[in-house]
């Protein structure tokens, strides 16, 4: 019995050794099921052809599930992923915690100085780059040129909120299921709160004053929310309170929205002839303002990062450098056309004459450049971030606040009540977290 066991163990050990010797290193990559990432997954073979000793294992998940998974994993140092897709909200917080591997030592050929300064700044903590941007986005107005002309209006490059409201009401034709404006209404810190917070900035509102006192009881927030809800009631689609990015994208692509103010990255989807019924009738403009010096556009970059403690840092760096490189952009362009390359990360892309022909290229770059996460509001604030506040407590608070806003949009709660609730719950949580005394 003993010998048999011994032989068996030996055989197993030998097999394992052989297996490790023969097998390539496998990187497990967690990513969002957005179009650009799915395209990246589709190009796996291009990467492994260049790096035969690395294999890629994809975990593609819906955004909220992905965030829950990677957050649990990094906070507990679970080590299930070698590369994580995270956003500009997570990078500064996680980087400061020492949870991410610094990327300042990427090879010369990567040309880190080519990254757009606004985007790179959002991913850098104390001079160390902690994630490489896969695609960057701001927000802008996308509108139907045909419906705008029909309404007898002309969209300026930098519209005001008053013009947007007027145009939205003029374009609405409920009988034909055309709604003047589609905006996010689905509760979530990355959904309606992102849009409304960015809008609030242009109305002169802010989340906190310099001493972290919540500001939802101020007039600026009341103006913002009343404007948003009146506009959506008059010119929005039915069921707007459950519409997020994807729902609005589907509405716009099927010709049901006159205007849509959302992520710049959506431009390539709404102009794609395969998916969009209105691809040849879309115009772009900067996010609106109220003449107060701030526009309602945000800044976000889905980025690739390596959790500290990973055993495959070298391979992971190779992959990240490949997926966010100039060569990757050229590779996608050669396969899918310039309109489909991941936008908003590199200066060289916007200097490329081929890319300049893409209808939304200039407006995307202008929108990104118009965003400044370090000074997001009219009045001073103690935080960084335009459509979010880069503190760990924000996700929880903002999701609860988003539910209040969504309820107000659905009509199940008055605007004043929603704001009072938002104020009360934010004060509570900030007191609990020790930012303010009570």
């Amino acid at each position: 019995m003993k010998t048999r066991l011994g032989t068996l163990t030996g055989a197993v050990a030998a097999t394992c050794l052989l297996a490790t010797a023969a097998a390539a290193e496998t990187l497990t990559i967690a990513t969002v099921n957005n179009g650009d990432m799915i395209r990246m997954q589709g190009l796996t073979d291009e990467f492994t052809a260049q790096n035969p000793d690395i294999e890629l294992e994809w975990v593609t998940l819906e955004e909220n599930i992905l965030r829950q998974r990677v957050t649990t994993d990094i906070a507990t140092k679970g080590g299930q992923y070698d590369v994580m897709t995270i956003g500009t909200y997570e990078v500064p917080i996680w980087g400061r915690q020492g949870w991410l591997v610094g990327l300042n030592d990427l090879p010369e050929s990567y040309d880190v100085d080519d990254l757009l300064p606004a985007i790179r700044g959002g991913l850098t903590v104390d001079g160390e780059l902690y994630a490489a941007p896969f695609y960057g986005e701001s927000s802008m107005v996308m509108y139907r040129t045909d419906l705008m002309a029909q309404a007898g209006l002309e969209m300026p490059d930098a519209p005001s909120w008053d013009f947007i409201a007027q145009a939205a009401r003029a374009m609405t034709d409920t009988d034909n299921e055309v709604y003047g404006i589609c905006l996010r209404g689905k509760a979530g810190w990355g959904e309606n709160v992102a849009f409304i917070t960015a809008t609030a900035n242009s109305f002169g509102a802010r989340w906190f004053d310099e001493n972290w006192n919540p500001q939802f009881d101020g007039e600026a927030w009341s103006n913002t929310l009343n404007f948003y809800i009146d506009l959506m009631n008059d010119a929005g689609p039915p069921g707007a309170s459950s519409n997020g990015f994807n729902e609005n994208l589907a509405l716009f692509q099927t010709g049901k929205c006159g205007m849509w103010i959302d992520a710049t990255v959506a431009a390539s989807f709404v102009t794609n002839p395969n998916d969009s019924t209105v691809h040849d009738r879309v115009g772009f403009a900067l996010a609106p303002d109220n003449g107060l010096g701030r526009r309602g556009n945000w800044l976000w970059a889905w980025s690739l990062a390596i959790p500290a403690g990973s055993e495959k840092i070298e391979s992971a760096k190779k992959f990240i450098a490949w997926a966010t490189s100039k060569e990757y952009l050229a590779l996608v362009a050669s396969k899918e056309g310039w309109a489909n390359v991941p936008p908003g990360t590199r200066t060289s892309l916007y200097e490329n004459p081929e890319y300049a022909k893409v209808p939304f290229a200039k407006m995307t770059l202008d929108s990104i450049n118009a965003a400044d996460p370090t000074s997001p509001t009219v009045d001073p604030v103690p935080y960084v971030g335009i459509q979010f506040v880069a503190i760990p407590e924000f996700q929880g608070i903002a999701t609860a606040v988003g539910q209040q806003f969504s309820a107000a949009l659905a009509g199940s709660m008055a605007v004043d009540e929603a704001l009072a609730n938002a104020q009360a719950l934010t004060v509570r949580e900030m007191t609990r977290a020790g930012y303010i005394d009570n």
């Binding site: 799915i38 294992e57 649990t72 507990t76 299930q80 998916d275 609860a400 199940s412 609730n421």
Partner: protein, 568 residues
């Protein structure tokens, strides 16, 4: 009477199940209680400090807490009402004679096999969406304003979705109970001139409502402390066991006809001798088909029932059918208004895309391994435990069983972090072994309890006779108990495979790539950018097809296991 020897054995047999569940409960629970007294934010490590009862204070003074509590109660209450009323009506309908009864039964049961994640996605997007959902199309077709379900009646919508999912199970159990109803009694009352309404009110209802088959849908939650009637059985003192869940009474009734209906006929009260009961019982069951034929049904009535039953059956099955149909459409066609039912260009491109993007086969294989593995392991642990509880009960048996079921009430989110930490340290994250262990532990109470109810129906005389003939404990189990218990074990096995297959919390949170089952596969399609109804439908169809097919093929076995208990 159980001997000293068998008592010791019994304790040995039950201990693996008890120790495992004790560990499963105490370790995470202890850690959770510990965390609850700290100021602990996962995103701010190193900030942990003693917070006393601060977290509880904030929790209880949170206005959202009571809103959530009342929403939960409304949800549970709403689902219970719909599943009870709907379940009784459906069970009564399916118990009638009509053409195609087997097919309709299969249609009605189908939603029970659907992954909750799939059913939520399908309902939310393809039916309730106020612009491109099917209900919106129907409303527009009728010239009405589309109703925005999730914005204006969110709780109602969720109740509807959950009820749709659990109605089949309630129907299944109630049908089982109904078919165990003594039809001689019904015939007698019919001859005595009782009309249909009276028969329903005075015979069927007391039978079904004894002692509350209603909370069936919430198998995990049911804890009805009713029925404290002492029942000395099989010659030794049986401890009181509250009927925690209603499958038990259904099974027991299946064996011996409803207690209350027995009470209605005082003359039958003495039938407490199991043997007489059993004989009559098996005779009755054998005669079931003959009785069906003997029931006088006019052709008109049969035709009406057929139409009604088929309409309802198709309506319940429709969401699944619609998903399957949509999976063969192009994305544009999937949200087209008005929608086309079958007259579209059928395409398999969605399946091709899904197959290209994810490794379906690996997810499928993981699902198979995890659900079968956890069920097999669960049975190995549960069979001895249930055996000893059923045959060598002690004063504590009832409490042990209650406690086992109570471990099901731990909210998984509450123990996620402790479990995640334990799994990380044990190297079990993203392994099939890890998932098999977790799913075994969460389903073990149900397995033990189902088996216990079956085993209790096995006449102990046979075992005692075997023991006198010198059978060892082992041969007692292998040669006598097992063959008699096979139907019960089989239906436990089937039910548990379904539960494990559809489990979507642990399977999603403890896996990454290597051990990810079909629940993770679906999460990649749940709400991407752009149009996704057709791809979501294709992925959903692929995820539910295996268990749906298995469920359909085995539904007879499932019903039989529930109906007949363990013994012929």
């Amino acid at each position: 009477m159980a001997t000293q020897h068998s008592r010791v054995n019994a304790r040995l047999l039950i201990s693996p199940a008890v120790l495992l569940l004790l560990g499963w409960m105490l370790i995470p629970l202890g850690l959770t209680v510990y965390f609850s007294l700290l100021r602990y934010n996962l995103l701010m490590p190193g900030m942990e400090q003693w917070a006393g009862l601060d977290n509880y204070r904030y929790f209880l003074t949170d206005p959202a807490f009571f809103a959530a509590l009342s929403n939960t109660l409304l949800l549970v209450g709403g689902v219970l009402v719909i599943t009870i009323v709907g379940g009784v009506s459906l069970a009564l309908l399916l118990d009638q004679l009509f053409w195609g009864r087997g097919i309709v039964r299969v249609l009605v049961i189908a939603p029970f096999f659907i992954m909750p994640t799939v059913s939520a996605l399908v309902w939310k997007n393809m039916f309730m969406n106020p612009v491109s959902g099917l209900f919106a199309h129907a409303a527009k077709g009728l010239g009405l304003e589309p109703f925005d379900f999730l914005a204006h009646a969110p709780l109602f919508s969720i109740v509807l979705i959950v009820s749709w999912q659990w109605l089949p199970f309630a129907t299944l159990i109630l049908l089982t109970a109904l078919q165990s109803l003594d039809s001689e009694q019904l015939e007698a009352s019919e001859m005595d001139g009782a009309n249909y309404r009276n028969r329903f009110l005075f015979i069927v209802m007391p039978h079904l409502s004894d002692p509350d088959p209603d909370d069936l849908p919430a198998v995990d939650l049911c804890r009805d402390p009713g029925d404290h009637e002492r029942r000395p059985r099989h010659g030794f003192d049986q401890p009181d066991l509250p009927d925690l869940c209603p499958i038990a009474p259904a099974v027991r009734r299946g064996r011996r006809g409803g207690r209350r209906s027995r009470r209605d006929h005082p003359g039958q009260r003495r039938r407490d001798l199991p043997d007489a009961d059993d004989r009559q019982e098996s005779g009755r069951l054998r005669g079931r088909e003959d009785q069906d034929m003997a029931r006088n049904v006019t052709p008109t009535r049969k035709a009406v029932v057929t139409i009604v039953a088929w309409t309802i059956g198709l309506a319940i099955f429709f969401p699944i059918l619609w998903t399957i149909l949509t999976s063969f459409k192009t994305e544009a066609e999937a949200i087209a208004s008005p929608p086309s039912f079958v007259l579209f260009d059928w395409t398999v491109e969605n399946y091709a895309i899904v197959q290209e993007r994810s490794n379906y086969f690996r997810h499928f294989l993981n699902s198979v391994i995890i659900s079968i593995g956890s069920t097999a392991l669960g049975l190995v642990i549960a069979i001895p435990a249930a055996w000893s509880m059923a045959f060598v009960p002690t004063k504590r048996t009832k409490h042990v069983l209650m406690w086992m079921l109570s471990t099901k009430m731990l909210p998984p989110v509450g123990v996620l972090v402790p479990i995640y930490l334990i799994f990380r340290d044990a190297g079990l994250l993203d392994t099939q072994v890890g998932l098999v262990i977790v799913l075994t532990l969460i389903n073990l109470p149900i397995i033990v309890w189902m088996l216990y109810t079956y085993f209790r129906e096995i006449p102990v005389d046979i075992l005692e006779a075997a023991r006198m003939d010198g059978a060892t404990l082992r041969s007692e189990i292998v040669h006598i108990l097992a063959p008699m218990a096979v139907p019960g074990i089989a239906s436990t096995l089937l039910l548990n495979i379904i539960l494990a297959w559809n489990e979507a919390f642990w399977t999603l949170n403890l896996t990454a790539a290597k051990a990810a089952p079909l629940t993770a596969f679906i999460a990649a399609y749940s709400s991407p950018e752009g149009l996704f109804y057709a791809k979501l439908s294709a992925a959903s169809t692929l995820a539910i097809a295996p268990i749906l097919i298995m469920g359909w093929f085995s539904q007879r076995q499932l019903v039989r296991g529930l109906t007949f208990g363990a013994v012929k």
